[in-house]
Subunit: 338 residues, 2 copies
């Protein structure tokens, strides 16, 4: 099968690899309908994370179930499914608490930029999309596999409530989806922090009521100014570097919440400063599985359209250009068709 492989920083190739196959009786193999490039793939692509050996890329996918292992009972061949970057059994105590990305049996699902994907713990991990699904919904369903679910978790972790003022740090696909989440959860004022016109526009389309172009200290000062000197009720940190985290913490009101979903790189938080700020922090790899059925329904009923974050669509064979376009910020997010 055709699949992307990262060989070195900025060296992504599409190669022939052995077709994904069942390994455990709880596995499924799916035929990929759509996959994509994630902002977090860029950490590897840019060489921020070390590349020890050639590594198949991607962890987002929508597909048709091709075959299932003997112990899979809830998922059947021929079904359209959305899957996740962490496989989970969806029955352990952590899953029952709604933290499937901390499942006691979790397993990373990598190498999804490929014609076929092996999905462990298929009953817990895959969600069937019922009915005849219009082709136009595929990008939004694919977004639910990670970025929409991650933006949703940012809002849930920050305890967004009806009437809240919410600030979103980061205008990548996750940040933009976090705007959708804040709106769906009832925020009445949503401040997108972005300095890129096309992203500002999409943020407004998704529900942002204000846009702040300033960053760092100036950005936080601007949020304070917009909130009567107090700060936002909730801030969704969707980047993961020290500056964005500082910006998020300084933009939040005393008693407010920061949800952080950008994988932290070099972030240290001073205990004393956090203490006197009265701000609460919750982050982590988003337990998208907890939200996925609800998100799929919102997509199918037309309430949300997160697929708009895909502003570049390419055949899988042109994946290298898809990575390049995101690296150079020519594209927000690249959808790949096997």
């Amino acid at each position: 099968m055709r699949a992307t492989v990262l060989h070195a920083p900025r060296d992504v190739r599409v190669e022939d690899r052995p077709r994904a196959a069942l390994q455990q009786p709880t596995d499924a193999v799916i035929r990929t309908v759509a996959t994509c490039v994630c902002g977090s793939d860029l950490w590897d692509y840019r060489g921020v994370n070390e590349i020890a050996e050639p590594t198949p890329g991607g962890h987002e996918y929508v597909g048709i179930v091709e075959e299932v292992g003997s112990e899979v009972t809830g998922i059947k061949p021929g079904q359209l499914v959305v899957g996740l970057f962490f496989a989970s059994d969806n029955t352990c105590p952590n899953c029952e608490n709604g933290y499937q990305t901390n499942c006691l049996h979790r397993e990373f699902v990598g190498g999804c930029q490929a014609e076929y994907v092996r999905v462990p713990l298929a009953d817990g991990t895959l969600v069937h999309v019922p009915g005849d699904v219009a082709e136009e919904h595929i990008p939004s369903l694919l977004a639910c596999s990670d970025v929409m679910g991650t933006g949703w978790y940012a809002a849930v972790a920050a305890q967004v409530e009806p009437g809240d003022t919410v600030a979103v740090v980061g205008d990548g696909a996750v940040g933009l989806c976090a705007v959708i989440a804040a709106k769906e959860l009832g925020a009445t004022r949503i401040i997108a922090m972005s300095r890129h016109a096309p992203r500002q526009q999409l943020a407004r389309e998704f529900g942002a009521t204000d846009v702040v172009a300033e960053r760092g200290h100036e950005g936080a000062a601007r949020i304070k100014e917009l909130t009567g000197g107090i700060g936002a009720d909730a801030v969704l940190e969707c980047v993961g570097n020290p500056e964005s985290m500082r910006q998020a913490l300084h933009s939040t009101r005393p008693g407010g919440n920061v949800g952080f979903v950008g994988v932290p790189h070099g972030v240290q938080i001073d205990g004393e400063e956090l203490f006197f700020s009265h701000v609460a922090l919750r982050g982590g790899p988003a337990p998208v599985r907890a939200f996925l059925p609800d998100l799929i329904e919102r997509v199918l009923t037309g309430r949300i359209n997160p697929g708009k974050v895909f502003d570049l669509e390419l055949p899988l064979d042109q994946a290298a250009e898809g990575y390049r376009a995101m690296d150079e910020r020519r594209a927000i997010k690249t959808l790949l068709r096997p």
Copy 2:
């Protein structure tokens, strides 16, 4: 008036000082009925915080209103009141959000180990205790001025809910009061972390169902063992050093909450580790004012008896011995009578 003054590490003296007097029309002056020594006073006493000049001590007090400024309308001379370590107007946005210790006009109320105390923003800061108050309730009312309110905030910040398993790190007066708070908020399992027999016993009396004597890695491992390998739903960190914070974070289940009320000294939190733990953190100087009317009612109706943390009572003139006994851990907390 007689008052304590800290001159140097371990050098507390009771001296004659000018009697507290009104300075602003929003002030009150109270005649102290009872005051005490706080665990946080020991940071200064031990020389951890620098002592720049001779400093009057103490920030916890119950008293009778002696006089009020011309703009004070809610508090009257002759009333028995409980006050707080931060004066707040109780009307600014941060106060309305329940974070009075981040009041836009907050002012630290120090020098309360004294016969009289000047309390700024009296209408916002003081709470009148109605009716004929029995002498036996005085210690518990005094505890509400800080340690009971701080333990309560630890439980609120950690979002303790009915049915939860709660671990408490720290067996000082705040940790012991946090046990009371966890019980009142409906926790069904309360694990006190303590290696001192008299404190273990008081923790059990206050509602602890389990006691763990191990600390650090072993302590966290023991909590995991007691919770099926998962961790506690909520952990109340009542110490404030790097080891206790690590212990708290490692004792909490994915998706659980740490409330931290020990003023952090040298605590750094690694962003990546916090991220993958899925644990939420909220701390800060407790907004005791938000809880005080409710806590006073619980004391007067006999539901809670946090005054038991005072295992040493001395005349104000013997304050030096009161500090020494706490420093040497011979006493949990010292009550002082002017």
